[in-house]
């Protein structure tokens, strides 16, 4: 397997989304310019904070507008040659529905055909922009209502950071929305999102290349140069780790701590896996299921000992790159270092993983050796210390409460490497507690009024699941990584049919006031494929909460 093959798995399409909806050339601040076509009236403009937006109103407009918030786009250009992101230029082009960035207009066409108007902006600022993006979305709703006075309802959805923005909008402005669908969402806070990525980056730096700065970047252009340098180093050393998974060799840039582990006979794949487990990186990735092995001698050994590390490599490439770009961005907004693992108990975090992946980690002795090497007791593994003032400022950025007061649909891949399913699980858990309290209140009211009015369930959680097994091997027993990513893996890796399930839930709420549920929902998800609405499914919690 070549370096390029694994690193090509970076989900640049989800992170760096581009818009295909054409904007009218006459757009100007606040007042949309519309082409006035009867079958599809396309409008564009710029909000007061400078965010370009688009509005599409079909001729059979039914009075409901669906607002889309796009996902994370780096707020800095990325030089050519860097895997995944190379050549990226900052853009604030508007998107009005999922799929458009990849040229898939099926969801757009379906909703327009149903009489729904679509809108969305490109936001004035890229990077972590939830605070300003919520304000932009609120303003855009007002613009749409003013321009199209027959608008009766607005529903919101979004992906990744757009999912975070959607949930934040629903929490802060429930009066504006009829329903919400945060998909493959970041949830809670920017801090918990960056913790996974930051932990992984710290582990790679600490063991494989201590010259990686890994945060605490300088302000301005100097910090940008440091971050881009880190990206190059990060991908370079991951390439060396990848080579070492076969050869056993550790990168030549390994730290003294890493070299000591290598000398103790610990394979580099075990160290990589441990870093992944302590960060919460999923052990199933686009091409590695940690289940399958090639026919022959490696049938058992490959899934037990090798595949989990390769999965962490594929997923970790996404996580680490995000860490560099987003940490540099949020540090810039906060004024200093915002990743701090001085009190992180990595041993506790791998308590379960060290059992499940005991073989791949090399057994108890190896695990103990690695955890000791990464503990606070080892001066050769210095922890990252955050800047208190900067962290306080970061924590002042908009956060979710987890409260749900309008019908909400979530969907996420169970092996999403950027916004782990645990983020959506966090929201589900928050809502479960809220619903239990609402039931208790209903019961309490029943005791006094004699009439029981059950609370209405407001959340449907949809999980995009991985196939039973999916790693493929060639005739030489080498894993094949040139095929499309498996369902349930990669970031926001949904099929059109899966997006349609969410769209149909929104349509159902709009038309009936309730979700598609029961057997109808079961049929819908079965036909879409690789989806589950099992209410008892639980995604592992983000390590931030452990």
């Amino acid at each position: 397997m070549t370096k390029a093959r694994v690193l090509s798995m970076l989900s640049a399409t989800a992170l760096v989304s581009m818009m295909v909806v054409a904007l009218p050339t006459a757009a100007h601040a606040a007042d949309p310019a519309c082409d006035g076509k009867l079958t599809l009236n396309s409008c564009g403009g710029v909000t007061s904070d400078g965010a370009p937006y688009a509005i599409q109103v079909p001729g059979n407009f039914n009075g409901t507008v669906i607002l889309y918030s796009h996902g994370y786009r780096p707020n800095v250009p990325v030089p050519a040659g860097i895997p995944g992101y190379g050549g990226y230029k900052v853009t604030n082009t508007a998107e009005t529905a999922p799929g458009q960035s990849g040229g898939n207009m099926a969801i757009t066409q379906y909703l327009l055909s149903q009489g729904y108007a679509l809108t969305g902006s490109g936001f004035a600022r890229q990077g972590w922009n939830a605070d300003s993006a919520v304000a932009t979305d609120v303003e855009l709703i007002g613009i749409v209502k003013k321009q199209f006075p027959t608008t009766k309802k607005v529903m919101a959805w979004g992906q990744s950071l757009g999912g975070f923005i959607t949930q934040a909008l629903a929490e802060t402005h429930p009066d504006l929305l009829t329903a919400a669908a945060p998909m493959c969402m970041a949830a809670g806070t920017v801090e918990n999102e960056l913790t996974m990525a930051g932990d992984f980056l710290w582990g790679v730096k600490t063991l494989f290349d201590p010259s990686i700065q890994g945060g605490n970047y300088a302000a301005g252009a100097a910090g940008y140069a440091q971050a881009m340098g880190d990206l190059v180093k990060f991908f370079t050393v991951l390439g060396k780790v990848q080579a070492g998974i076969s050869s056993g060799a550790w990168p030549d840039t390994s730290s003294a701590t890493g070299q000591a582990l290598a000398k103790a006979g610990i394979p580099v794949r075990s160290a990589l896996l441990l870093i992944g487990l302590m960060s919460g990186i999923n052990t199933q990735s686009a091409h590695f299921d940690s289940i399958s092995g090639p026919a022959g001698a490696l049938k058992l050994a490959f899934p037990l000992a090798v595949s989990p590390a390769l999965a962490v490599l594929e997923n970790g490439a996404n996580a680490g790159a995000l860490a560099i770009l987003a940490i540099q961005d949020v540090e810039g907004q906060s004024g200093g270092a915002i990743f701090d693992n001085t009190k992180t108990d990595y041993a506790a975090r791998v308590a379960t993983g060290s059992v499940v992946f005991n073989v791949a980690l090399g057994g108890d002795e190896a695990i103990a050796g690695m955890l000791g090497a990464l503990s606070t007791a080892n001066p050769g593994a210095p922890r990252a210390t955050g800047n208190a003032a900067a962290m306080a400022k970061m924590r002042a950025l908009i956060q979710h409460t987890g409260k749900i007061s309008i019908p909400t649909v979530t969907m996420v891949g169970v092996a999403d490497p950027i916004t782990p399913a645990g983020a959506s699980q966090w929201l589900a858990d928050k809502y479960a507690a809220q619903f239990a309290a609402e039931k208790a209140a209903a019961m309490s009211a029943y005791k006094t009024t004699g009439a029981y009015v059950p609370p209405k369930k407001q959340l449907v959680s949809i999980w995009s699941t991985t196939p039973a097994s999916y790693t493929k091997f060639d005739a030489t027993a080498a894993p094949i990584t040139s095929t499309p990513a498996a369902p349930g893996t990669n970031h926001c890796n949904f099929t059109t049919a899966q997006f349609m399930v969410v769209a149909k839930e929104l349509v159902s709420v709009d038309k009936t006031g309730g979700f598609v549920a029961g057997s109808a929902l079961a049929t819908l998800v079965r036909k879409a494929g690789n989806l589950s609405v099992d209410p008892m499914y639980r995604a592992p919690a983000l390590k931030f909460y452990e």
Partner: protein, 435 residues
């Protein structure tokens, strides 16, 4: 809306508990009887995950056939309360992540009533963490592992052990060593994971100190150059008695390497690594078993004087033709037998909750082939609690030392090891539990 009926049912239950409220406002459907998943008026569907293929499968892959044979025997005799039992088998190749996938399939696609006999410590831990049958209320019966943690009801609310714990085994083995090999230099070769860690805890409590300790990483036995390094260390340490707490493939590797290196200590195998079928399939000839000792909690598979062994052999011949009767067949049938006992004890109105309650309240009196009682209670999901020791002969047949089963019993804590006074109750008529 998802879960509407379930919510109403729960609400109704809460109302009934309060006792002081009228029922008029509660929807009528709240009182309807919900069909339990995997149960109909004439069937019960169970599921198991274990290695049916791959390096870890020899021996273990005979277990489902044995379980099915016993279930077929019960079904041919009318089933349990008129319900016939089917067993869905999923191969996990001993890979924890595959166990998670397979268990999810059993629960979501096959819609089994309960899991039974799932094999492997890491596998069951992975399933507990990532599938969470405990939170779902899905019975996870009689797991095929002796990891002591699975008896912890708080951590694993619906999981039940059957095997004595590895801690118990090590404690009992400690007494056995002290009684039979005083003054000998002792060596320990163990698998460096939860399995071996349980054993270390047991030996510590049991008061045995080893002169040479050799941990090995799981699966490292598959690397041909590794087992000789174990033997070198044991030889260098002068170990005269070597305890091996590992899987049978490690036993085979160790016995083979020791033979090649002309090292002949007294081997004492933990019960997991003492599977003659698997060891022989790994290439160890029967004569090398001569004098090797091991522990067991079931009667010896060749002991046809035992009524369970005798019945199980008959069932195996009829319902599992072609499968040679050995300890794997015996263990599989016994697991199926205890499962039938538990289902029968849960009564005609079979529910997952009722099954769990039945084992907690009646499990300690269940009939089975075990030579010690089971020990489940409302607060502990422990299984059997004792072992006897035997010695293999040159045909790889295990026979109890002295010709009688001298059973020792203890717990997974600080309790003493004592000779068991347990007298196994007579087998139910025709080997068909009724309550």
């Amino acid at each position: 809306m998802i879960g509407t009926n379930r919510r109403k049912l729960l609400v109704a239950s809460a109302v009934l508990v309060t006792g002081a409220l009228t029922l008029s406002a509660i929807p009528a459907q709240a009182f309807s009887v919900r069909n339990e998943v995997g149960v109909t008026s004439n069937s019960i569907k169970l599921g198991i995950t274990l290695p049916m293929t791959g390096a870890a499968s020899p021996g273990y892959n005979k277990i489902p056939g044995a379980m099915k044979a016993y279930f077929d025997y019960v079904n041919a005799n009318g089933g349990v309360n008129g319900r016939k039992i089917t067993l869905v088998v999923k191969d996990d190749a001993y890979t924890p992540t595959a166990s998670v996938q397979a268990t999810n399939e059993l629960i979501l696609q096959d819609k089994v009533f309960a899991m039974v006999g799932a094999l492997g410590t890491a596998n069951n831990k992975a399933v507990a963490a990532l599938v969470n049958p405990g939170r779902r209320g899905i019975p996870d019966l009689f797991v095929n592992t002796g990891f002591s943690g699975f008896a912890d009801k708080k951590a694993y609310p619906t999981t039940f052990s059957l095997f004595p714990s590895y801690i118990m085994e090590a404690k009992i083995m400690s007494m056995y060593i002290k009684e039979n090999f005083p003054g000998k230099k002792l060596g320990l070769l163990y698998q460096a994971d939860d399995f071996g860690r349980d054993a270390l805890a047991g030996f510590k409590t049991g008061g045995v100190t080893f002169d040479v300790t050799v941990p090995y990483a799981p699966l490292s036995q598959a690397t041909p150059t590794t087992p000789p390094t174990w033997i070198t260390k044991l030889q260098a340490g002068g170990a005269e008695v070597v305890v091996l707490f590992g899987v049978s493939s490690a036993t085979a590797a160790a016995l083979g390497a020791a033979y090649a290196m002309k090292y002949h200590p007294q081997w004492i195998l933990g019960s997991v690594g003492g599977d003659a079928t698997a060891i022989k399939l790994a290439g160890v000839p029967a004569p090398l078993f001569t004098g090797v000792q091991t522990a067991s909690f079931l009667p010896a598979p060749a002991d046809t004087t035992d009524e369970y062994v005798k019945l199980f052999q008959t069932i195996n011949t009829k319902y599992n033709p072609g499968a040679t009767f050995d300890n794997n067949i015996l263990a599989g049938m016994n697991t199926a037998f205890v499962t039938v006992q538990a289902i029968a004890a849960a009564g005609k109105n079979l529910t997952r909750k009722g099954l769990i309650t039945a084992i907690e309240t009646k499990g300690s009196t269940f009939a089975s082939a075990g030579l010690t009682p089971m020990a489940p209670t409302a607060t502990s999901h422990a299984g059997y609690n004792g072992y006897w020791f035997g010695t293999y002969d040159g045909t790889a047949t295990l026979k109890p030392n002295g010709g009688v089963y001298t059973v020792y019993t203890t717990d997974s804590g600080a309790g003493a090891v004592a000779k068991s006074t347990y007298k196994r109750p007579a087998m139910p008529v025709n080997g068909l539990p009724t309550n």
